[in-house]
Amino acid sequence: MNRRGFVSLLLGGGILGWLGAVLYPIISYLNPPKVPEANVQTVKAGSASDFPKNTAQIVKFGRKPVILIKTNNDEFLAFAATCTHLDCIVQYRGDLKQIWCACHNGLYDLKGRNISGPPPKPLDEYAVNIVEDEIHISEMG
Protein backbone atom coordinates (compact mmCIF):
# COMPACT_ATOMS: atom_id res chain seq x y z
CA MET A 1 0.00 0.00 0.00
CA ASN A 2 1.32 3.40 -0.86
CA ARG A 3 1.25 6.39 1.35
CA ARG A 4 -1.82 7.95 -0.17
CA GLY A 5 -3.79 4.72 0.18
CA PHE A 6 -2.74 4.46 3.79
CA VAL A 7 -3.84 7.99 4.59
CA SER A 8 -7.20 7.45 2.84
CA LEU A 9 -7.73 4.29 4.82
CA LEU A 10 -6.92 6.07 8.03
CA LEU A 11 -9.24 8.96 7.20
CA GLY A 12 -12.04 6.70 5.99
CA GLY A 13 -11.73 4.53 9.05
CA GLY A 14 -11.73 7.61 11.23
CA ILE A 15 -14.93 8.90 9.67
CA LEU A 16 -16.62 5.53 10.02
CA GLY A 17 -15.57 5.31 13.64
CA TRP A 18 -16.80 8.81 14.27
CA LEU A 19 -20.17 8.04 12.62
CA GLY A 20 -20.51 4.94 14.74
CA ALA A 21 -19.68 6.86 17.88
CA VAL A 22 -22.41 9.37 17.05
CA LEU A 23 -25.08 7.00 15.78
CA TYR A 24 -24.77 4.21 18.30
CA PRO A 25 -25.80 6.25 21.35
CA ILE A 26 -28.60 7.93 19.38
CA ILE A 27 -30.07 4.65 18.20
CA SER A 28 -29.80 3.12 21.65
CA TYR A 29 -31.46 6.21 23.06
CA LEU A 30 -34.43 5.82 20.71
CA ASN A 31 -35.06 2.30 21.94
CA PRO A 32 -37.09 2.72 25.14
CA PRO A 33 -35.94 0.79 28.22
CA LYS A 34 -38.01 -2.24 29.12
CA VAL A 35 -40.48 -1.47 31.85
CA PRO A 36 -40.67 -4.59 34.02
CA GLU A 37 -43.98 -6.43 33.78
CA ALA A 38 -46.12 -5.41 36.69
CA ASN A 39 -46.06 -8.57 38.70
CA VAL A 40 -49.75 -9.11 39.17
CA GLN A 41 -51.04 -12.55 40.02
CA THR A 42 -54.60 -11.83 40.99
CA VAL A 43 -56.91 -8.88 40.75
CA LYS A 44 -60.24 -8.40 42.45
CA ALA A 45 -63.11 -7.28 40.28
CA GLY A 46 -65.95 -6.50 42.64
CA SER A 47 -69.01 -8.36 43.74
CA ALA A 48 -70.17 -11.41 41.79
CA SER A 49 -73.84 -11.04 42.61
CA ASP A 50 -73.99 -7.38 41.59
CA PHE A 51 -72.53 -8.15 38.16
CA PRO A 52 -75.38 -8.13 35.62
CA LYS A 53 -75.91 -11.30 33.61
CA ASN A 54 -74.94 -11.50 29.97
CA THR A 55 -72.63 -8.51 30.18
CA ALA A 56 -68.94 -7.90 30.45
CA GLN A 57 -66.42 -5.45 31.78
CA ILE A 58 -62.85 -4.59 30.98
CA VAL A 59 -60.67 -5.07 34.04
CA LYS A 60 -57.13 -3.82 34.48
CA PHE A 61 -54.83 -6.76 35.03
CA GLY A 62 -51.59 -4.95 35.79
CA ARG A 63 -51.10 -3.00 32.59
CA LYS A 64 -53.12 -5.39 30.49
CA PRO A 65 -56.83 -5.21 29.77
CA VAL A 66 -58.83 -8.35 30.58
CA ILE A 67 -62.44 -8.90 29.60
CA LEU A 68 -64.59 -10.36 32.37
CA ILE A 69 -67.89 -11.89 31.22
CA LYS A 70 -70.85 -13.14 33.21
CA THR A 71 -72.93 -15.56 31.16
CA ASN A 72 -76.64 -16.20 31.42
CA ASN A 73 -75.98 -19.20 33.66
CA ASP A 74 -74.05 -17.11 36.15
CA GLU A 75 -70.73 -18.43 34.98
CA PHE A 76 -67.74 -16.08 34.95
CA LEU A 77 -65.18 -16.10 32.16
CA ALA A 78 -62.10 -13.96 31.62
CA PHE A 79 -59.85 -13.50 28.61
CA ALA A 80 -57.08 -11.21 27.52
CA ALA A 81 -59.00 -8.33 25.93
CA THR A 82 -56.35 -7.48 23.34
CA CYS A 83 -57.41 -8.73 19.94
CA THR A 84 -54.86 -11.08 18.43
CA HIS A 85 -55.29 -9.42 15.06
CA LEU A 86 -54.07 -5.85 15.38
CA ASP A 87 -54.25 -4.97 19.04
CA CYS A 88 -57.72 -3.47 19.43
CA ILE A 89 -59.71 -4.12 22.60
CA VAL A 90 -62.55 -6.59 22.22
CA GLN A 91 -66.07 -6.39 23.64
CA TYR A 92 -68.79 -8.82 24.64
CA ARG A 93 -71.87 -9.01 22.46
CA GLY A 94 -74.80 -10.11 24.58
CA ASP A 95 -76.94 -10.57 21.47
CA LEU A 96 -74.48 -12.98 19.87
CA LYS A 97 -73.10 -14.52 23.07
CA GLN A 98 -69.71 -14.00 21.53
CA ILE A 99 -66.71 -11.76 21.90
CA TRP A 100 -66.48 -9.18 19.15
CA CYS A 101 -63.71 -6.95 17.93
CA ALA A 102 -65.13 -3.85 16.31
CA CYS A 103 -61.96 -2.94 14.47
CA HIS A 104 -62.22 -5.51 11.70
CA ASN A 105 -65.19 -7.55 12.73
CA GLY A 106 -63.30 -10.37 14.45
CA LEU A 107 -65.33 -12.88 16.48
CA TYR A 108 -64.32 -15.21 19.29
CA ASP A 109 -66.52 -17.77 21.02
CA LEU A 110 -66.88 -18.08 24.78
CA LYS A 111 -63.83 -20.31 24.94
CA GLY A 112 -61.75 -17.51 23.42
CA ARG A 113 -61.36 -19.31 20.11
CA ASN A 114 -61.18 -17.11 17.03
CA ILE A 115 -64.13 -18.22 14.96
CA SER A 116 -64.47 -15.61 12.25
CA GLY A 117 -62.87 -12.53 10.81
CA PRO A 118 -59.17 -11.75 10.67
CA PRO A 119 -57.92 -12.74 14.17
CA PRO A 120 -55.24 -15.40 13.71
CA LYS A 121 -55.08 -16.76 17.26
CA PRO A 122 -57.40 -17.39 20.22
CA LEU A 123 -57.51 -15.09 23.24
CA ASP A 124 -55.60 -16.20 26.33
CA GLU A 125 -57.90 -17.33 29.07
CA TYR A 126 -57.70 -16.22 32.70
CA ALA A 127 -58.98 -18.14 35.71
CA VAL A 128 -61.93 -16.70 37.64
CA ASN A 129 -62.68 -17.69 41.22
CA ILE A 130 -65.41 -16.40 43.43
CA VAL A 131 -64.32 -16.03 47.03
CA GLU A 132 -67.15 -14.96 49.31
CA ASP A 133 -68.92 -13.17 46.47
CA GLU A 134 -65.72 -11.36 45.45
CA ILE A 135 -64.51 -11.97 41.89
CA HIS A 136 -60.82 -12.93 41.67
CA ILE A 137 -59.11 -13.06 38.29
CA SER A 138 -55.77 -14.78 38.01
CA GLU A 139 -53.40 -16.05 35.43
CA MET A 140 -53.94 -19.62 34.24
CA GLY A 141 -51.62 -22.36 35.36
Partner: protein
Protein backbone atom coordinates in the same frame (compact mmCIF):
# COMPACT_ATOMS: atom_id res chain seq x y z
CA UNK B 1 -34.23 48.70 -10.88
CA UNK B 2 -36.84 50.54 -12.81
CA UNK B 3 -38.70 52.15 -9.96
CA UNK B 4 -38.86 55.93 -9.74
CA UNK B 5 -39.08 56.12 -6.00
CA UNK B 6 -35.68 57.36 -4.71
CA UNK B 7 -36.15 55.69 -1.31
CA UNK B 8 -36.71 52.31 -2.90
CA UNK B 9 -33.80 52.89 -5.23
CA UNK B 10 -31.51 53.71 -2.34
CA UNK B 11 -32.60 50.71 -0.37
CA UNK B 12 -32.15 48.49 -3.39
CA UNK B 13 -28.66 49.69 -4.15
CA UNK B 14 -27.73 49.36 -0.46
CA UNK B 15 -28.70 45.71 -0.57
CA UNK B 16 -27.27 45.16 -4.04
CA UNK B 17 -23.91 46.60 -2.98
CA UNK B 18 -23.66 44.00 -0.29
CA UNK B 19 -25.39 40.92 -1.68
CA UNK B 20 -25.27 41.36 -5.46
CA UNK B 21 -28.90 40.57 -6.03
CA UNK B 22 -29.02 41.98 -9.56
CA UNK B 23 -28.27 38.60 -11.19
CA UNK B 24 -31.15 37.13 -9.20
CA UNK B 25 -33.52 39.84 -10.32
CA UNK B 26 -32.35 39.32 -13.91
CA UNK B 27 -32.98 35.62 -13.51
CA UNK B 28 -36.51 36.26 -12.30
CA UNK B 29 -37.13 38.67 -15.14
CA UNK B 30 -36.19 36.11 -17.74
CA UNK B 31 -38.12 33.28 -16.22
CA UNK B 32 -41.01 32.22 -18.40
CA UNK B 33 -43.73 29.68 -17.93
CA UNK B 34 -44.92 27.88 -21.04
CA UNK B 35 -48.60 28.29 -21.79
CA UNK B 36 -50.41 25.29 -23.26
CA UNK B 37 -53.34 23.06 -22.53
CA UNK B 38 -51.63 21.41 -19.52
CA UNK B 39 -50.60 24.67 -17.87
CA UNK B 40 -53.19 24.25 -15.12
CA UNK B 41 -51.13 21.41 -13.61
CA UNK B 42 -48.30 23.83 -12.96
CA UNK B 43 -50.39 25.33 -10.20
CA UNK B 44 -50.80 22.14 -8.19
CA UNK B 45 -47.33 22.24 -6.67
CA UNK B 46 -47.84 25.88 -5.73
CA UNK B 47 -51.14 25.08 -4.05
CA UNK B 48 -49.48 22.28 -2.07
CA UNK B 49 -46.77 24.70 -1.03
CA UNK B 50 -49.32 27.23 0.12
CA UNK B 51 -51.18 24.61 2.13
CA UNK B 52 -47.89 23.57 3.71
CA UNK B 53 -47.29 27.15 4.78
CA UNK B 54 -50.79 27.23 6.30
CA UNK B 55 -49.84 24.05 8.14
CA UNK B 56 -46.76 25.66 9.60
CA UNK B 57 -48.59 28.79 10.70
CA UNK B 58 -51.65 27.08 12.18
CA UNK B 59 -49.44 24.36 13.66
CA UNK B 60 -47.27 26.85 15.51
CA UNK B 61 -50.41 28.49 16.88
CA UNK B 62 -51.77 25.14 18.08
CA UNK B 63 -48.54 24.34 19.90
CA UNK B 64 -49.17 27.33 22.17
CA UNK B 65 -52.10 25.55 23.85
CA UNK B 66 -51.58 21.87 23.15
CA UNK B 67 -50.23 19.58 25.88
CA UNK B 68 -48.77 16.27 24.78
CA UNK B 69 -49.70 14.21 27.76
CA UNK B 70 -51.98 11.23 28.24
CA UNK B 71 -54.04 12.99 30.88
CA UNK B 72 -54.26 16.42 29.34
CA UNK B 73 -53.88 16.14 25.57
CA UNK B 74 -57.58 15.61 24.93
CA UNK B 75 -58.57 18.25 27.47
CA UNK B 76 -56.14 20.77 26.02
CA UNK B 77 -57.62 20.33 22.54
CA UNK B 78 -61.13 20.65 23.95
CA UNK B 79 -60.10 23.78 25.82
CA UNK B 80 -58.55 25.13 22.66
CA UNK B 81 -61.65 24.55 20.58
CA UNK B 82 -64.24 25.65 23.12
CA UNK B 83 -62.62 28.35 25.25
CA UNK B 84 -59.79 29.92 23.29
CA UNK B 85 -60.91 32.67 20.92
CA UNK B 86 -60.81 31.35 17.36
CA UNK B 87 -59.23 28.14 18.63
CA UNK B 88 -61.81 26.11 16.73
CA UNK B 89 -60.88 28.00 13.58
CA UNK B 90 -57.15 27.41 13.93
CA UNK B 91 -57.67 23.72 14.58
CA UNK B 92 -60.13 23.48 11.69
CA UNK B 93 -57.71 25.17 9.33
CA UNK B 94 -54.91 22.88 10.46
CA UNK B 95 -56.92 19.71 9.91
CA UNK B 96 -58.54 20.77 6.67
CA UNK B 97 -55.45 22.19 5.05
CA UNK B 98 -53.54 19.05 6.05
CA UNK B 99 -56.01 16.89 4.20
CA UNK B 100 -56.17 19.19 1.22
CA UNK B 101 -52.39 19.32 1.12
CA UNK B 102 -52.10 15.56 0.83
CA UNK B 103 -54.80 15.63 -1.82
CA UNK B 104 -53.06 18.27 -3.90
CA UNK B 105 -49.71 16.55 -3.51
CA UNK B 106 -51.30 13.45 -5.00
CA UNK B 107 -52.75 15.50 -7.87
CA UNK B 108 -49.39 17.19 -8.38
CA UNK B 109 -47.66 13.82 -8.44
CA UNK B 110 -50.00 12.17 -10.90
CA UNK B 111 -50.01 15.18 -13.21
CA UNK B 112 -46.21 15.13 -13.15
CA UNK B 113 -46.35 11.46 -13.95
CA UNK B 114 -48.80 11.68 -16.82
CA UNK B 115 -47.06 14.63 -18.45
CA UNK B 116 -43.72 12.79 -18.05
CA UNK B 117 -42.25 15.78 -16.28
CA UNK B 118 -40.07 13.41 -14.23
CA UNK B 119 -37.82 12.65 -17.21
CA UNK B 120 -34.29 13.91 -17.60
CA UNK B 121 -33.21 16.37 -16.25
CA UNK B 122 -35.89 16.33 -13.53
CA UNK B 123 -35.28 12.91 -11.98
CA UNK B 124 -34.30 14.32 -8.62
CA UNK B 125 -37.27 16.67 -8.49
CA UNK B 126 -39.43 13.56 -8.78
CA UNK B 127 -37.50 11.65 -6.12
CA UNK B 128 -37.53 14.53 -3.63
CA UNK B 129 -41.21 15.06 -4.40
CA UNK B 130 -41.98 11.44 -3.62
CA UNK B 131 -40.10 11.62 -0.34
CA UNK B 132 -42.01 14.79 0.51
CA UNK B 133 -45.28 12.92 -0.05
CA UNK B 134 -44.11 10.11 2.22
CA UNK B 135 -43.18 12.69 4.87
CA UNK B 136 -46.55 14.38 4.48
CA UNK B 137 -48.20 11.05 5.18
CA UNK B 138 -45.95 10.71 8.22
CA UNK B 139 -47.18 14.11 9.37
CA UNK B 140 -50.72 12.88 8.94
CA UNK B 141 -50.19 9.64 10.82
CA UNK B 142 -48.46 11.26 13.79
CA UNK B 143 -50.80 14.25 13.89
CA UNK B 144 -53.88 12.05 13.92
CA UNK B 145 -53.01 10.69 17.36
CA UNK B 146 -52.34 14.01 19.05
CA UNK B 147 -55.93 14.86 20.15
CA UNK B 148 -55.85 11.50 21.96
CA UNK B 149 -59.36 10.46 21.07
CA UNK B 150 -60.72 6.95 20.81
CA UNK B 151 -60.62 6.65 17.03
CA UNK B 152 -57.08 7.97 16.80
CA UNK B 153 -55.91 5.80 19.67
CA UNK B 154 -57.09 2.58 18.09
CA UNK B 155 -56.11 3.61 14.59
CA UNK B 156 -52.59 4.18 15.92
CA UNK B 157 -52.59 0.81 17.66
CA UNK B 158 -53.59 -0.84 14.39
CA UNK B 159 -51.22 1.23 12.26
CA UNK B 160 -48.16 0.63 14.40
CA UNK B 161 -49.06 -3.04 14.72
CA UNK B 162 -49.08 -3.30 10.93
CA UNK B 163 -45.66 -1.64 10.88
CA UNK B 164 -44.60 -4.34 13.33
CA UNK B 165 -45.36 -7.03 10.75
CA UNK B 166 -42.54 -5.85 8.46
CA UNK B 167 -40.02 -8.69 8.35
CA UNK B 168 -36.91 -8.30 10.55
CA UNK B 169 -37.03 -4.59 11.34
CA UNK B 170 -40.77 -4.46 12.10
CA UNK B 171 -40.72 -5.35 15.78
CA UNK B 172 -37.91 -2.93 16.80
CA UNK B 173 -39.49 -0.25 14.63
CA UNK B 174 -42.82 -0.71 16.37
CA UNK B 175 -41.22 -0.46 19.82
CA UNK B 176 -39.30 2.67 18.83
CA UNK B 177 -42.41 4.27 17.34
CA UNK B 178 -44.60 3.42 20.29
CA UNK B 179 -41.95 4.19 22.86
CA UNK B 180 -42.67 0.81 24.44
CA UNK B 181 -44.73 -2.31 23.92
CA UNK B 182 -48.07 -0.55 23.80
CA UNK B 183 -49.60 2.68 22.64
CA UNK B 184 -49.41 4.84 25.76
CA UNK B 185 -48.55 8.36 26.85
CA UNK B 186 -44.99 7.56 25.75
CA UNK B 187 -46.28 7.10 22.20
CA UNK B 188 -48.02 10.44 22.40
CA UNK B 189 -44.77 12.20 23.40
CA UNK B 190 -42.92 10.53 20.57
CA UNK B 191 -45.51 11.29 17.96
CA UNK B 192 -45.57 14.89 19.11
CA UNK B 193 -41.81 15.17 18.80
CA UNK B 194 -41.88 13.53 15.38
CA UNK B 195 -44.75 15.75 14.27
CA UNK B 196 -43.40 19.11 15.34
CA UNK B 197 -39.62 18.69 15.33
CA UNK B 198 -38.23 15.73 13.42
CA UNK B 199 -40.49 15.75 10.37
CA UNK B 200 -40.51 19.54 9.93
CA UNK B 201 -36.70 19.58 9.98
CA UNK B 202 -36.36 16.89 7.32
CA UNK B 203 -39.27 18.26 5.32
CA UNK B 204 -37.80 21.76 5.16
CA UNK B 205 -34.50 20.51 3.79
CA UNK B 206 -36.16 18.39 1.11
CA UNK B 207 -38.67 21.06 0.21
CA UNK B 208 -35.87 23.59 -0.26
CA UNK B 209 -34.06 21.18 -2.57
CA UNK B 210 -37.26 20.46 -4.47
CA UNK B 211 -37.91 24.17 -5.01
CA UNK B 212 -34.31 24.88 -5.85
CA UNK B 213 -34.34 22.21 -8.56
CA UNK B 214 -37.45 23.71 -10.07
CA UNK B 215 -35.96 27.20 -10.06
CA UNK B 216 -32.77 25.94 -11.70
CA UNK B 217 -34.49 23.92 -14.40
CA UNK B 218 -37.65 25.88 -15.06
CA UNK B 219 -40.99 24.39 -15.89
CA UNK B 220 -41.20 21.21 -17.86
CA UNK B 221 -42.63 21.51 -21.35
CA UNK B 222 -44.68 18.68 -22.79
CA UNK B 223 -43.16 16.80 -25.73
CA UNK B 224 -45.26 18.33 -28.47
CA UNK B 225 -44.44 21.82 -27.25
CA UNK B 226 -40.71 21.17 -27.26
CA UNK B 227 -40.84 20.41 -30.97
CA UNK B 228 -42.49 23.74 -31.82
CA UNK B 229 -40.27 26.56 -33.05
CA UNK B 230 -39.64 29.21 -30.44
CA UNK B 231 -41.83 31.84 -32.05
CA UNK B 232 -44.86 29.52 -32.03
CA UNK B 233 -44.61 28.90 -28.30
CA UNK B 234 -46.72 30.91 -25.96
CA UNK B 235 -44.99 32.03 -22.83
CA UNK B 236 -45.99 33.89 -19.72
CA UNK B 237 -43.56 35.82 -17.59
CA UNK B 238 -43.10 34.15 -14.24
CA UNK B 239 -42.84 37.51 -12.59
CA UNK B 240 -45.33 39.05 -12.18
CA UNK B 241 -47.90 37.25 -14.39
CA UNK B 242 -47.57 33.68 -13.22
CA UNK B 243 -46.84 34.62 -9.64
CA UNK B 244 -49.93 36.83 -9.46
CA UNK B 245 -52.07 34.00 -10.76
CA UNK B 246 -50.48 31.75 -8.18
CA UNK B 247 -51.33 34.20 -5.44
CA UNK B 248 -54.88 34.59 -6.67
CA UNK B 249 -55.32 30.84 -6.58
CA UNK B 250 -53.84 30.74 -3.09
CA UNK B 251 -56.42 33.25 -1.98
CA UNK B 252 -59.16 31.05 -3.38
CA UNK B 253 -57.71 27.99 -1.65
CA UNK B 254 -57.46 29.89 1.61
CA UNK B 255 -61.12 30.79 1.31
CA UNK B 256 -62.05 27.19 0.65
CA UNK B 257 -60.08 26.08 3.71
CA UNK B 258 -61.74 28.71 5.87
CA UNK B 259 -65.18 27.80 4.59
CA UNK B 260 -64.57 24.14 5.30
CA UNK B 261 -63.28 24.94 8.78
CA UNK B 262 -66.35 27.06 9.52
CA UNK B 263 -69.03 24.81 8.04
CA UNK B 264 -67.48 21.44 8.78
CA UNK B 265 -65.70 21.79 12.10
CA UNK B 266 -63.32 18.97 12.84
CA UNK B 267 -64.77 16.67 15.47
CA UNK B 268 -62.93 15.79 18.62
CA UNK B 269 -64.77 12.58 19.50
CA UNK B 270 -64.45 10.68 22.78
CA UNK B 271 -61.33 10.70 24.87
CA UNK B 272 -59.18 7.60 24.40
CA UNK B 273 -59.42 5.02 27.14
CA UNK B 274 -56.85 2.23 26.91
CA UNK B 275 -59.18 0.07 28.99
CA UNK B 276 -62.33 0.40 26.93
CA UNK B 277 -63.40 -1.74 23.99
CA UNK B 278 -62.61 -0.35 20.56
CA UNK B 279 -65.63 1.38 19.04
CA UNK B 280 -66.88 0.38 15.61
CA UNK B 281 -65.69 2.50 12.70
CA UNK B 282 -61.98 2.55 13.38
CA UNK B 283 -60.41 3.78 10.22
CA UNK B 284 -57.22 5.46 9.18
CA UNK B 285 -57.11 8.83 7.44
CA UNK B 286 -58.39 8.57 3.89
CA UNK B 287 -54.96 8.60 2.27
CA UNK B 288 -54.02 5.41 4.08
CA UNK B 289 -57.31 3.78 3.25
CA UNK B 290 -56.24 2.11 0.01
CA UNK B 291 -53.36 0.32 1.71
CA UNK B 292 -55.43 -0.54 4.74
CA UNK B 293 -58.27 -1.91 2.63
CA UNK B 294 -55.92 -4.03 0.51
CA UNK B 295 -54.34 -5.50 3.63
CA UNK B 296 -57.79 -6.31 4.95
CA UNK B 297 -58.79 -8.05 1.75
CA UNK B 298 -55.74 -10.29 1.64
CA UNK B 299 -56.34 -13.78 3.01
CA UNK B 300 -54.62 -14.64 6.31
CA UNK B 301 -52.09 -16.86 4.52
CA UNK B 302 -50.79 -16.70 0.98
CA UNK B 303 -48.58 -19.70 0.18
CA UNK B 304 -46.05 -19.77 2.99
CA UNK B 305 -46.41 -16.12 3.97
CA UNK B 306 -48.80 -14.25 6.19
CA UNK B 307 -51.14 -12.18 4.06
CA UNK B 308 -50.25 -8.99 5.86
CA UNK B 309 -46.51 -9.44 5.42
CA UNK B 310 -47.06 -10.04 1.73
CA UNK B 311 -49.15 -6.88 1.47
CA UNK B 312 -46.56 -4.79 3.26
CA UNK B 313 -43.78 -6.14 1.06
CA UNK B 314 -45.88 -5.39 -1.99
CA UNK B 315 -46.52 -1.79 -0.97
CA UNK B 316 -42.88 -1.33 0.00
CA UNK B 317 -41.67 -2.52 -3.38
CA UNK B 318 -44.36 -0.67 -5.31
CA UNK B 319 -43.49 2.54 -3.48
CA UNK B 320 -39.81 2.07 -4.22
CA UNK B 321 -40.50 1.40 -7.90
CA UNK B 322 -42.70 4.49 -8.07
CA UNK B 323 -40.03 6.63 -6.46
CA UNK B 324 -37.46 5.38 -8.98
CA UNK B 325 -39.73 5.79 -12.02
CA UNK B 326 -37.36 8.19 -13.82
CA UNK B 327 -34.66 5.53 -13.77
CA UNK B 328 -36.61 2.68 -15.35
CA UNK B 329 -38.92 4.78 -17.46
CA UNK B 330 -40.05 3.02 -20.64
CA UNK B 331 -40.21 5.33 -23.63
CA UNK B 332 -43.05 5.01 -26.05
CA UNK B 333 -41.97 3.41 -29.30
CA UNK B 334 -42.43 5.84 -32.17
CA UNK B 335 -45.49 4.93 -34.16
CA UNK B 336 -46.93 2.66 -31.50
CA UNK B 337 -50.19 3.62 -29.87
CA UNK B 338 -49.32 1.89 -26.65
CA UNK B 339 -47.68 3.86 -23.91
CA UNK B 340 -46.58 1.50 -21.16
CA UNK B 341 -45.99 4.23 -18.59
CA UNK B 342 -49.45 5.71 -19.02
CA UNK B 343 -50.74 2.19 -18.47
CA UNK B 344 -48.85 1.90 -15.19
CA UNK B 345 -50.09 5.29 -14.08
CA UNK B 346 -53.69 4.47 -14.86
CA UNK B 347 -53.45 1.14 -13.03
CA UNK B 348 -51.92 2.78 -9.97
CA UNK B 349 -54.51 5.54 -9.94
CA UNK B 350 -57.43 3.15 -10.44
CA UNK B 351 -56.12 0.84 -7.74
CA UNK B 352 -55.88 3.69 -5.25
CA UNK B 353 -59.31 5.09 -6.10
CA UNK B 354 -61.12 1.73 -6.11
CA UNK B 355 -59.53 0.55 -2.88
CA UNK B 356 -60.27 3.85 -1.15
CA UNK B 357 -63.91 3.72 -2.21
CA UNK B 358 -64.20 0.10 -1.12
CA UNK B 359 -62.65 1.04 2.20
CA UNK B 360 -65.50 3.43 2.88
CA UNK B 361 -68.25 1.24 1.48
CA UNK B 362 -67.35 -2.11 3.07
Amino acid sequence: MDTKNPMVRRAYSWIDDRFHVTPLVEFMRHKYVPVHRHTVWYYMGGVSLFLFISQVVSGILLVLYYQADEDSAYESVRFLTTKVKFGWLIRGVHSWSANLMVFFVFVHMFSTFFTRAYRKPRELSWVTGFVLLALAMGFGFTGYLLPWNELAFFATKVGTDIAGAVPFIGEPMKIVLRGGEDVTGATLSRFYAIHIAILPAIFTVLLSLHLLFIQRQGMHEPQYLKRLPAEKKQMMAFFPNFLLRDVLLWLIVLNVVLALAVFFPWELGEKADPFAPAPAGIKPEWYFMFMFQSLKMLPAHVLFMEGEVLGILFFGLAGLAWMLVPFWDIKKKSGSKLDVMTGFGVIALLFIVVMTVLGYLL
